[in-house]
Subunit: 379 residues, 2 copies
């Protein structure tokens, strides 16, 4: 960059605010912005340890768990996924991965990189798995170490029920890994009731905190398996056996925690707590229904066949109306109207849009703004 | 946590500000705080791509490199270290790791976890390597893939010269990895001149940005080696071959970038640019010397034998004066005077303190505050 180019920038960074209705990040509350900009303190300061304890406690609320090992990974949701795989799996371990979108595929890729023997079970994008069939598949695999599944598939908007699978796995030696990146704090995630052993999420979806951290929780069963490993965890950065000494009562330095992002997560979780989880779920449900009713009026079709499959209230995948050019339309929406929506990924690119109405942005007035603009182009 | 405990907390997070004179994080400038709290936009927004380009350009300035592949890893400095090792090394590859403190030890651990055959060369903590001897060692190892070394050893305050080693390695097939976590933007880091192929740093030291990102740069030689790999990189999250498609012109989604932390890094780098690198180095040097002169007056001894080894201007390791109880003293300093300094690690615990005068905090008035308080206890 030439010196003059840099000089031309404003003295302070000023970002033009947009309405974020893509698949994340969402807009963030003023309280979170204020927390972010608090002066940094040390990752080894007793005052900071109180914040870490608070985060763990509030995460236990949203994960609906009593798991002692509940904290935030110093990386985004994908780092949480990698943390789950890297710690649970040893070379040649068998894992069953359920695939019905991008994030199921990613699980499969990550697990295989860590040397696991990956068995895939697939349905088409936009579809969900029959839990009974999954349980039959699990029964058919000898020496299965883990099962992993995406609760809320961000690439399609499909909602996968987990309760029966988890209930079956509870009485086995098999570790149940669930990706709740898009669902956490927007719909029920009952980690303990559903028998999930490793449950991870992201901050930039329904929690409405900037991207950069991955909330995660490990059951005693998962921890015990990890402690019984005979090989070292390949990732030093994501090694649970060391990280728990920092997040636990010993407070042993591992890496320098991302202090200000943790302030933000703490505040985002406090906002969830202030609203109350059930009220938050109801709000997401009502606004999801409101979105669907507006969609029906406009004659736009959902990508998910709702008669056959469950869909998410906070992430709507819809067919792009005929005669609309996908990228031109989304560009206009962003540049002229300051509204972001998401494109399709992989096989759905150019066919669907993904619209996130998550956390801070799950509001009727925001949905109205989007539809008022859609009407300009579509009616 | 009981509900009442959470209710007792203040509505907004208010952190008691401290003077951070430990080995990082440092205090951050108002401009960085303001950038942090800008409203989040999407990681796929064209406005955000401009910020990413700006970060890469400004990082090339501080790394003194022309490397195209220059960006920030979505994790702390240790994630940068892991990124270097995970991408460069394949199983059984030989790496020579120079060890004279915690971060050399960590390099060795990380490399071995990724299956490398680690050859260690060690000197005592607080000492530095003779570059001629290192080159002789390198010559003695057949089929060496990489050499890795810590430029500024944060656990001891030792400064390792790299120019001759790098100059020798330039004409070989061997990859040179350097950890500049504590040195970057405080003293010269001449990535290209010194022949460093993979150079990584952290944000929370001399850049005075909160912890959470790791600036990193890869030479063409390193990139070409990585592209010739015959095995997949074990870490998906840190896989350079995918990440360069997001940071490069293609802008392919990999993971959701930590948007607000990148705002902060951009602003921290703009502050470096505004000051000018050479003026910044001079400031660190002068304040380091000022610190040493105050130390001498008080009769406190440096841990580094400066007649034999180079030391850092931004991280001072000093022997704890007799008759002072380490942890009581540091606790008083933090709780009564709001000043943080660092303890020794490993073999130096209870023997030395580590005092960081980095970036925003490399100032005479801050050093004076520290010494005024030290005098209360020590004189």
């Amino acid at each position: 960059m030439q010196e003059k180019d840099i000089e031309q920038l404003k003295d302070f960074l000023e970002v033009k605010s947009k309405i974020l209705l893509g698949p994340g990040p969402t807009n963030i509350d003023e309280r979170v912005r204020r927390a972010l900009s608090e002066q940094t303190i040390s990752h080894l300061d007793p005052d900071f340890f109180n914040i870490l304890d608070n985060i763990s406690d509030l995460l236990r609320e949203v994960f609906q768990t009593k798991n002692k090992i509940t904290f935030a990974v110093s990386g985004t949701g994908s780092a949480g996924m990698e943390m789950a795989m890297a710690n649970v799996l040893e070379k040649e371990d068998k894992i069953l991965v359920l695939k019905n979108g991008v994030f199921g595929e990613r699980m499969s890729d990550v697990a295989s990189r860590y040397g696991a023997s990956v068995i895939e079970m697939s349905v088409n994008w936009g579809e969900t798995f029959n839990q009974g069939e999954v349980i039959e598949k699990i029964k058919s695999i000898k020496n299965l170490k883990a099962v992993s599944v995406v609760h809320a598939e961000t690439s399609t908007g499909a909602l996968q029920d987990l309760n029966h699978i988890g209930n079956y796995l509870k009485d086995t030696d098999i570790i149940f890994i669930a990706d709740t990146v898009t669902s956490l704090s927007g719909i029920e995630v009952k980690t303990d009731d559903w028998g999930i052993d490793v449950c991870y999420s992201g901050t930039q979806k329904c929690l409405s905190v900037p991207p950069g951290l991955s909330p995660i929780t490990f059951s005693d069963k998962a921890l015990s398996k990890i402690q019984q490993r005979t090989t070292k965890i390949a990732s030093w950065y994501l090694d649970l056996t060391m990280l728990i000494n920092y997040w636990g009562s010993e407070r042993v330095y591992h890496h320098t925690a991302p202090v200000n992002m943790l302030y933000a997560l703490n505040e985002g979780l406090r906002i969830c707590h202030d609203e109350g989880l059930n009220r938050r779920f109801t709000r997401h449900k009502e606004n999801g229904d409101y979105f669907d009713s507006k969609l029906e009026v406009m004659g736009i079709k959902s990508f998910i066949n709702k008669k056959k499959h469950s869909s998410l209230p906070m992430l709507k995948s819809i067919f792009i109306p005929d005669a609309i050019d996908d990228s031109t339309f989304r560009q206009n929406l962003l540049l002229k109207h300051n509204i972001e929506i998401g494109s399709g990924l992989g096989p759905t690119k150019g066919k669907i849009w993904r619209i996130g109405i998550m956390g801070h942005n799950s509001r009727k007035d925001v949905i109205d703004i989007l539809f008022n603009v859609l009407e300009l182009y579509l009616v």
